[in-house]
Amino acid sequence: MEIFYIVGMITAGLFFGWTIGSHYTGAVMGTAYGAKILNIKSATLLIAIFALLGATFQSHGVIKTVGSGIIPMEYLTPFRAMIMMLNAALVTAVNTWLKLPISTAQLACFSIVGVGLAIDAPISWKHTMLPLAITWVGTPLVGCILGFIFTKTIGGVNAKKLETFKKFVLIIACCYASFTLGANNSGLAVSVLYGSGVLKSLLFAGFIGGVVVAIGALTWGRPLLEKVGLHIVQLEINSAIGAQLGQATTAYIAALLGYPTSMNQAIVGAIGGAGLARGVKYIQIKVVKEIVINWFVSLIVSGFTAYFLYKLFAWLLGAK
């Protein structure tokens, strides 16, 4: 039976990773694609390459935090790990229709908390969940500050001749954001695979996470980016660079600290900051309200579903 749980956990985890790759395509490449600096093929290919690199080499902190920092590793049986990933995958899939504002980072973490509560495991509220909550609240704020600073700095360089150079810088900023996507988010898909001992090497776990995220970007990310690109307000180049750098740096710092966060909320903050720097109102105040709602919806949906999914399957299969 254990092999069945392991297969279930891997399948659900990989599906979850694949959705991360597509889900964040707009957030890391939307500015360059929207400004028609990159075409859809190059945009998705760059995401795939840089996310894979970020995942392989820099996602280890996130994998450790999520895989072993929320509940102790010894509590992670293959069955429990399967339920966690199944919950993350199911909520993501159902959300394709329901369109609830759910962040993947919060979804993964609360899936673990939900199962943790169901099995009476000691949850590391103080050492992991509190810093995570601070990271999530801090993400749009730090994004905003950095977006402001970067946009001011880039905007200071005003020579006409540098326009082509700035386009190049925007592409680099998007590649940096893609690298950060790998570093910060891909670990979510493989963290319990590591925590439950199915994957023993952090480097290999990171690589697997990177591969599925890259596949997500190359497959579903493409139509998503195409749809998004047609409808977004095109940012002027200084704001685009500032926002993307602000987002990438914010999420990268979080990844170095080992805390996963939302690339989307980071870019909302960073675009807000870029707008402040240029005196343009890109982000409406109601978006900030949506982020706050997002935190609570993510917590309730993923935590509760994970709790009940565990109880249901434990009762049906008699497993622990």
Binding site: G26, A27, G30, V287
Partner: protein
């Protein structure tokens, strides 16, 4: 049959050529064109979810500006034009507007798409075919052919020049036949009748001969073929061999499950042929 048509657009670069090719339907009775732009609620949700800024007023005003070019052209050609911008699910909005405006035909363009997109998203056209009770003209305006190793883009200039009429003697095929006199008025002069059979039946040749005579009476030059094989494959092959510009056929499903698994003949013709298709419901 062509008096009022609904033309949903996404402002692709080939929208204008399609509109131009439709103007010849004036002589077949076309009087009104309803131009529709649907702001896709999914796309707006995805953009917002990605944290990127969206401005609905800006999207509407851009759409309005783009529409004016089409409106001016169509008005200059003596057609009455109505512009509409709506928000929601694209397929549902198209069907809703077609009902509100009581149009006789919906015209859509179709461009080549990525295989993965086919798999995950399904096209607006597919959705309209499945859900709509209206006849549908799908203009394949963008085909790429390799000529001497170089990709050559071809655009449909004379949509109604030569018609391949595929019939299976069904009620839907009969209704499709009803479009032929109107297409004659729109400039069509040649018809190729095609009946594909999977089993040989005696009366087919006689039926085909009498149908040929009937269509000749309208004024068309007619050829007819009775072919053995897979209907959708043969229709596509013959349309290409005869260099038809339009495939005319009735649309009917093959039962719910089979249609989901395989797609009906008309859906497959639409999917795989590089010719425009007039699908009569």
């Amino acid at each position: 049959m062509f008096s009022k048509i609904l033309f949903p657009t996404k402002f692709d670069e080939f929208t204008f050529p399609i509109l131009k090719s439709l103007v010849c339907l004036k002589s077949a009775g076309l009087k009104d064109i309803v131009l529709l732009y649907v702001i896709d609620e999914d796309a707006i949700y995805l953009a917002k979810e990605s944290g990127l800024p969206v401005d609905m007023e800006q999207i509407k005003s851009l759409a309005n500006n783009k529409m004016q070019e089409f409106v001016n052209y169509l008005k200059s050609m003596g057609l009455a034009v109505k512009e509409k911008i709506s928000f929601g699910n694209v397929v549902n909005e198209i069907i809703k507007e077609a009902q509100i405006e009581n149009v006789s035909l919906v015209v859509t363009g179709r461009h080549k798409r990525h295989k993965i997109e086919e798999l995950f998203i399904g096209s607006t056209t597919d959705g309209v075919i499945k859900k709509s009770p209206f006849s549908l003209l799908v203009v394949k305006y963008h085909t790429i052919k390799m000529i001497e190793g170089k990709p050559i883009e071809q655009f449909c200039l004379n949509l109604f020049r030569k018609i391949l009429y595929a019939t299976d003697w069904s009620e839907h095929s009969e209704r499709a036949k009803g479009f032929l006199p109107f297409l004659y008025n729109a400039g069509a002069r040649e018809v190729v009748i095609l009946h594909v059979i999977e089993e040989k039946k005696k009366d087919n040749m006689e039926k085909l001969d009498s149908l040929k005579k009937e269509i000749e009476k309208i004024g068309f030059t007619v050829k007819s073929y009775l072919i053995h094989g897979k209907p959708y494959k043969e229709i596509i092959r013959m349309a290409s061999e005869e260099n038809a510009t339009l495939i005319l056929m009735g649309s009917h499903g093959k039962g719910f499950v089979k249609e989901i698994l395989l797609g009906s003949v008309s859906q497959r013709v639409l999917e795989y042929s590089d010719r425009s298709v007039l699908l009569v419901k």
